[in-house]
């Protein structure tokens, strides 16, 4: 995912000013400037960017700006909780405000489970610094030392005299005081936390349950018309002509025109736009549309041909070597048992329930957009490039997203709307149909892992080969980078050979929740299960023994651990102790190995490290004789560091991620035929429904580590844990997803 990890040289400082009408306005700034960071006495340079605004009004109401897009991950609630905790106010006195994309801020994005690790420390410090300023103002008024005062619920108390002042009463005075150094401010002892770790309902829940217009698709602007956009069904193809007279004559149609598009599959592509007085008029006219397409060079691409190319690659050596230790071929030749496993996982659509849409006004060399987005700045840049504007002339109003899952890291729909609004000369609301959404998605790339593993007579894993076949658009970069040297189980095996080959293609791909990991986990944690059985060992015990062979990691650098799937490339990889911690805990909570289940029912285990989170999961699943899978229960243990921010949101995320992973494994597949996507809607790309969902037991193992994010890391273990449970139930090894395409009948 193209998101920036936390730089180690980040430094924060605080600016205080008086709020109009009295009160305190605090800006917390982040600076990525090593020279300045090395000389804290120097004045902050002009390019410092704002990270957080906190306002304390005379009535004591605290307003906290939430800069990150809310996409269902709960960030609009959880980040302000961190500030409120250290500020020592009651949550009922906190108001949270979202803001548009603002050039003064950093990191107005939602992706990579990065918002919590990037903001946790700084937001604590900001809250604590604000509290210190309010205490100092009260102490000054009383003529006492700040150290003689305590705070609780937004009230400062002089301990010996019992005098009290409310935050709102001293906020204006505090604004005139020097802001403390954020790097030396005193933080609460976590055992005194009153807000962090509790269950706080989402701040927008009332708006959601009463149907308030908070989502991108709900935006309206004066004089707006409605647009639909038929893109070339073949990726990379172009519209050359259409029945323009007939379409223009349809009721309510304002304009219809060809969009030439750009070669960027994640930008403006070619098609026909119809702009009309209502959505239904535009959609009805579209039914009459007859377009002549130049389908381009990829009209024969298909999933069948991709499979044939992958199999052909697998017969030879990988085009590129990724990691090599020892001599895997020699070890396989000497192994007591050798297992070969060819794993495949398909393309997947993100399918957020709110289809792509954007409302755009383009006028006088400026554009203003209203939309659901995970990466407003990326969208701003794309729109600017597409329309030939300066980014500063593109304003993006960030609406609540009806789901993201990585889909809204791409901004193609923003470029569409802006272009169509410009061409039509009126403000437009563009709405993609579900079919548009499913057929023009930067899909999770399909992938193949051709494994060979060997165990010696003592059941020790001595060889591990993985030829990973992925795709490439430019011949250089793979759609997913291969599992690296640090990834499990590579550091536990003396002879490792990992390589990759790439199939040229022209299908748009991009990050889907837990990118990379969501496919690798299935392949790796299933094949490790095969090796456990080959070794004659219990699958939990086998994994624990492999983890014991990994040396503990070097201490994390100041500013935090590396991000990414399994540690940055070349980094030492996941911490074996944390992997073992979650694995042992989930085995205990699930009663692993304690009961003998009847044939047709089994338990499977998997663990994975992604996006700085450690998760282990056990699935209890049944397979009927007719081959129908039913998941009975999932146990989850996660380690995301020393503190859970919002227990309610955290459990919700984890349960959702686990069921999401199960749905991917059970039903989901995008296939390509004749250069286009076959699936169209939820009737042939199913999502999980309530009757297929199951109890998900969530337990957080708190460890003395950095606090990290939860949007993603609970997903990857779910598919392999389910497939391993199916093996335990009926003895059939699942090497190809989705399960709905596998014959699971047994007698």
């Amino acid at each position: 995912m193209e998101l920036v990890n936390t730089p180690v040289s980040r430094r924060s400082f605080l600016r205080a000013s008086a709020l109009a009408g009295g009160g305190l306005l605090l800006g917390s700034y982040v600076l990525e400037n090593e020279a300045w960071a090395a000389s804290p006495a120097a004045a902050p340079p002009a390019d410092a960017t704002l990270n957080l605004f906190v306002k304390i009004a005379p009535d004591g109401i605290v307003t906290i700006i939430s800069k990150n897009p809310e996409i269902g991950q709960g960030i609009k609630t959880s980040l302000p909780m961190i500030v409120a905790e250290e500020l020592d106010v009651d949550w009922k006195d906190v108001r949270v405000e979202g803001i548009p994309l603002d050039a003064r801020y950093t990191g107005q994005s939602a992706g990579g489970s990065t918002a919590t690790p990037q903001n946790y420390d700084n937001m604590r410090k900001t809250g604590a610094a604000a509290r210190a300023m309010l205490v100092a103002a009260a102490a000054q008024q009383w003529g006492v030392q700040p150290s003689e005062c305590t705070t609780a619920s937004g009230v400062i108390t002089h301990t010996s005299s019992g005098k009290k002042l409310k935050y709102g009463e001293v906020a204006e005075k505090a604004a005139a005081l020097p802001a403390p150094d954020l790097n030396t401010v005193t933080l609460k002892d976590p055992k005194n936390f009153k807000i962090l770790g509790t269950r706080v309902p989402g701040v927008d829940n009332l708006a959601v349950v009463t149907g308030k217009p908070v989502f991108g698709i709900d935006a309206t602007v004066p004089g707006m018309k409605y647009a639909v956009f038929e893109k070339c069904p073949v990726f990379g193809g172009k519209a050359t002509a259409f029945n323009s007279d007939e379409i223009a004559a349809q009721p309510g149609v304002f304009k219809a025109f060809i969009v030439e598009g750009t070669p960027n599959l994640s930008g403006l592509v070619s098609g026909v736009a119809i702009v009309a007085d209502s959505y239904w008029a535009a959609a009805s006219a579209r039914k009459k549309l007859k377009v002549t397409w130049d389908e381009g060079a990829h009209a024969n691409d298909s999933s069948v041909s991709f499979q044939a190319q992958a199999d052909a690659f697998a017969k030879g050596a990988p085009a590129q070597s990724v990691a090599k230790t020892g001599d895997a071929d020699a070890a396989l030749a000497s192994a007591a048992k050798v297992v070969e496993g060819n794993y495949f996982y398909p393309f997947l659509s993100h399918a957020p329930l709110e289809p792509m849409n954007c409302t755009a006004v383009v006028k006088d060399g400026k554009a203003e957009l209203w939309c659901s987005t995970q990466q407003a700045q990326g969208g701003q840049g794309l729109v600017a490039r597409t329309l030939g504007l300066q980014p500063a002339d593109v304003k993006v109003n960030i609406m609540r997203s009806g789901g993201g899952f990585g889909r809204r890291l791409a901004s193609d729909y923003m470029a569409d709307a802006a272009w169509i609004a410009k061409e039509a000369g009126v403000p437009v609301k563009l709405i993609w149909t579900r079919e548009d959404d499913m057929q023009h998605d930067p899909y999770r790339a399909a992938g193949w892992h051709y494994f060979k593993g060997g165990v010696d007579a003592g059941g020790k894993l001595i060889a591990w080969k993985n030829h990973f076949v992925t795709f490439t658009q430019d011949g250089q970069r793979g759609a997913d980078r291969a599992p690296g040297a640090g990834d499990f189980p590579h550091r536990s095996v003396p002879n490792v050979d990992i390589g990759t080959s790439m199939i040229p293609f022209n299908v748009p791909t991009g990050p889907l929740r837990a990118p990379g990991s969501n496919g690798f986990s299935f392949a790796i944690q299933s094949f490790i299960d095969e090796m456990a059985h080959a070794a004659g060992k219990d699958p939990v015990q086998f994994r624990l023994e492999l983890l014991d062979l990994i040396p503990p990691p070097a201490p994390a650098p100041a500013g935090g651990a590396p991000g990414g799937r399994g540690g940055a490339p070349g980094a030492s990889g996941p911490d074996p102790a944390r992997c073992k911690g979650v694995l042992q805990a989930v085995a205990e909570r699930s009663g692993w190995g304690k009961q003998k289940l009847e044939k047709g029912r089994g338990m499977g285990v998997a663990f994975y490290f992604s996006h700085q989170g450690y998760f282990a999961e056990v699935v209890d699943a049944s397979v009927s004789k007719a081959g129908v899978v039913k998941v009975n229960k999932v146990w989850v243990v996660g380690d995301v560091g020393a503190q859970i921010v919002n227990l309610s949101g955290a459990e919700n995320q984890v349960q959702g991620a686990v069921l999401d992973g199960l749905a991917e494994a059970l039903y989901q597949e995008i296939t390509i035929d004749k250069g286009r996507t076959v699936q169209t809607n939820f009737n042939n790309f199913p999502l999980m429904r309530m009757s297929a969902s199951c109890e998900v037991d969530v337990y957080f193992l708190k460890t003395e580590n950095r606090v990290t994010g939860l949007g993603e890391p609970a997903l990857p273990p779910a598919p392999p844990a389910l497939c391993n449970a199916i093996f335990a139930a009926i003895g059939k090894r699942i090497r190809t997803l989705p399960l709905s395409k596998q014959d699971l009948k047994w007698t």
Partner: protein, 160 residues
Amino acid sequence: MPVTFKVNGQSKTVDVPADTPLLWVLRDTLDLKGTKFGCGIGQCSACTVHIAGEPTRACRTTIATVQGKEVTTIEGLSANGTHPVQRAWMDLDVPQCGYCQAGQIMAAAALLRKNPKPTDADIDAAMDPHLCRCATYNRIRDAIHKASTMSANNNNNNNG
């Protein structure tokens, strides 16, 4: 074609093509944005409203068929989020992205009116047409049970 019907207790007349789905009349003509577009083919049920009290997919209901009927949308379920189902949804912090929740709530309210003490199986049967991409299903089920208790306690579940 002018069509007159009641929305959230108020009589409305709209003049749109007869095949226009109720969904787009609600959202674009009447500016009631709470009812959501998800799939357009009756697969996700994000567009669920009550027509004569029955949970109905507004994306598959043409405006011509609504003539003279009573429609209730999420905006009309209660004055200010006070319906037991809405309160239970907030108490249990059900939503993640929240996009499907209006449809889920409308289905749950209709279920509880017909069946004030539903079992898990009753809930699954009533709610299975509703997709939640964030998979908040466990909380939805719990919230329906909770709303069932709240309805029994104050017995004012007459709306919608």
